[in-house]
Amino acid sequence: MQATAASRDRELCATDSTALRRALARTERRRQLWAFGLTLPLLAFLIVVFVLPIAGMLKLSVENGELVQVMPEAAEALRQWEGGGVPPEPVVAAFARDLQAAAAARTLSPVAQRLNNAHAGDRTLVQGTARRLPENPDGSWRATLAAIDPAWEEPRIWASLKRAAEPWTDLYLLQSLDLQRDIDDQITAGPPERAVYRNVLARTFWISFSVTLFCFVIGYPLAYKLATLPPKIANPLMILVLLPFWTSLLVRSAAWIVVLQREGPINQGLVWLGLIAEPLQLVFNRAGVLIAMTHVMLPFMVLPLVSVMRTIPKSHMQAAIGLGAPPFLAFLKVVLPQTKPGIGAGCLLVFIISIGYYITPALVGGAGDQMISYFVAFFTLQTVNWGMAAALGSILLAATLVLYLVYARLVGLDRLRLG
């Protein structure tokens, strides 16, 4: 049997080596296809839950279809108009007729909402005007509108309408950066008393950075202890670290309120010890946010660190000490450099997860400690302004990507060890 097979192989090899190569290539291709096929479910999953929603969010942040859809003729006329002042009668008439039609079809609501997004009060202006609009103009449409509300004589509302007539808008992205377009279509700073999002973005990154730092300071010695203790002791301790993972975030945050409040155990203990005279304000402010978030995030720092530290042989430390290094120096020179991949991964995990935090700051923070997702939730859940919600999300995404690239350059991505 073996002999015949071998002789046939030799025969094949001799007669047609290209056929063999082709057969080999075919098998190889089939194997690659099969391997690729195995990743298809993952790929489909990633596209459905990751790529598509992000693309959708980016699109929502610049989408401007309300006026184009509901008032097609008015939108066309406004786009043709070169802008400045109140538009000529045909444009005003096209707008008034579309306003009538939209009011009759009860489709005006999204347009009114869209205009209100750019200027508070325009929702009522548009809805109120639509209710009182006569069938035919009293003289000109311009005079008719002005008689209903003098606001229609202001160039501002028409500039606003012209911008709403374009298929895309930068309104939301600008507003997310405390910017606006003035009446001449120039980008200027928004009203100073409403300038909030740049501060919130900076606050989001600052809180995340502080939490990362605290997690590192607390988590590193803890991880080192866990990695060097015998498993019999280390494993139960590890469970204590993991315990918060198995508790609802809501419960943990609420528990911190109880612990940190004015008449809570920490304040009572400090007063009893005579360290303070008056209870400290530890919750509903920045201190509360940092304490609670550091607690929530700690496992994300400890786990990658422990997994890296366990791979460092004890003999390294012993050798360094044996060669005469004091223990601390031995640690600095021998152990610390080897844990860098774990530090990089832990810090990245904690920072990235912190950036999107919402529930914990909302519960234990004050009004001045809310992070960007608080505002995203406000726009999606309370005012149903998807444009602003998406724009804030997009800006957070962009800022995070930039920070990530800087971080990758500093730490080196190939050196990260996530667990």
Partner: protein, 346 residues
């Protein structure tokens, strides 16, 4: 395993076909929980007993998006309890049908309860609350007291965000309830409200969820707070607290409303229920279960005098109330929320 799965799927399919072929009951949708339990006892079950119209219940968490989705496609919800913003937007968009006010009679209801597409069904309020055990002699009685940190030292709390906070700031600054929204509609009025909030900024914290204010009072975190009136009464009953509501200080009240969805094929039955519910004697039975006020003008007089002081639409409380201006807030909430957070972050 797989055989039994197929069998279950087949059974579920049969059940699905069976239910969709069945005649649909009148479907009433409310907020669920203890509130809907009370509604069931006072309104739903007696209605079924009297009219023989079968009722199915559902509950929801609000949101105009959910209402829009239900109003498209085959009828599923008929009668829904909504908040005012959903009432206003739903009516504008044609999601809701206009009500027949001929039979209900506009004069029979509190003025804010009358709307083209809905009738207000409960009154609830955001009030000034404090722990009476902490103020044995001299409790706060006005919103001016809330903003007076010298006479009443200690931390106080308001709901996070501009809504109600600005109204209370103006009340505390001496603006009469009837003029609060006129003042707020001018830029100077908004400045005035924020200046008032700023005057106690160091002693002010903010709550997010309605469950927090009673907890803040109970733990001594704050000496007084704005709170939903139902939560205050509930804390007194379930935890035997001695929380008090300073009704005469002024409060902001809001309504929920019954509405009928435009695609309902049970509009007559839904209207029949509204007429059944509108009876003042029946409305007066709800407050002993849960301290939300009736909207029929004659109902308050028939409420058990024990619980009457706890409800916003009691004759002794209502004159101090300020009706929450949804039109103002739908227009301005985003701009003022930005301003509020800019102020809070300074």
């Amino acid at each position: 395993m797989s055989v039994s799965l197929i069998r279950i799927a087949a059974l579920a399919g049969v059940a699905l076909i069976a239910t969709s072929a069945q005649a649909r009951d009148l479907t009433i949708v409310s907020w669920g929980g203890a509130y809907q339990d009370a509604q069931r006892e006072v309104f739903f079950e007696p209605f079924v007993a009297e009219t023989d119209i079968a009722v199915t219940e559902d509950s929801w968490n609000g949101g105009i998006g959910a209402l829009r989705a239900r109003a498209e496609g085959p009828p599923s919800w008929d009668l829904v309890q909504v908040e005012t913003d959903e009432l206003v937007l739903g009516c504008e968009e044609g999601v809701l049908v206009p009500l027949d006010w001929e039979t209900l009679g506009k004069d029979n209801f509190l003025p804010p309860a009358v709307h083209d597409c809905g009738v207000g069904n409960i009154v609830w309020a955001t009030v000034l609350a404090y722990d009476a055990d902490r103020f044995p002699d001299d409790p706060p009685t006005t919103w001016a007291d809330f903003f007076d940190t010298e006479a009443f030292p200690g931390t106080r709390a308001l709901r996070a965000g501009p809504r109600q906070a600005l109204e209370f700031a103006l009340l505390g600054d001496g603006v009469p309830p009837g003029e609060v929204y006129d003042v707020l509609r001018s830029p100077e009025g908004v400045d005035r409200a924020f200046a008032k909030l700023d005057s106690i900024k160091d002693d002010l914290i903010f709550w997010e969820a309605g469950a927090q204010p009673p907890q803040l009072l109970a733990s001594g975190e704050v000496i007084m707070t704005s709170a939903y009136n139902g939560r205050v009464t509930a804390a007194n009953e379930s935890e035997s607290r001695n929380f008090q509501i300073a009704w005469p200080a002024g409060f902001v009240y809001q309504l929920d409303s019954w509405v009928i969805l435009a695609n309902s094929d049970k509009q007559d039955e839904a209207m029949q229920f509204i007429e059944f519910w509108a009876d003042p004697a029946r409305q007066a039975l709800l407050p002993p279960h849960i301290p939300y006020g009736p909207t029929h003008v004659d109902a308050a007089a028939q409420v058990d005098p024990e619980v009457l002081p706890d409800i916003p639409s009691a004759p002794q409380n209502l004159p101090h109330g300020l009706f929450f201006d949804d039109a103002f807030w739908v227009d301005n909430v985003e701009a003022l929320n930005e301003r509020f957070n800019a102020w809070a972050g300074q």
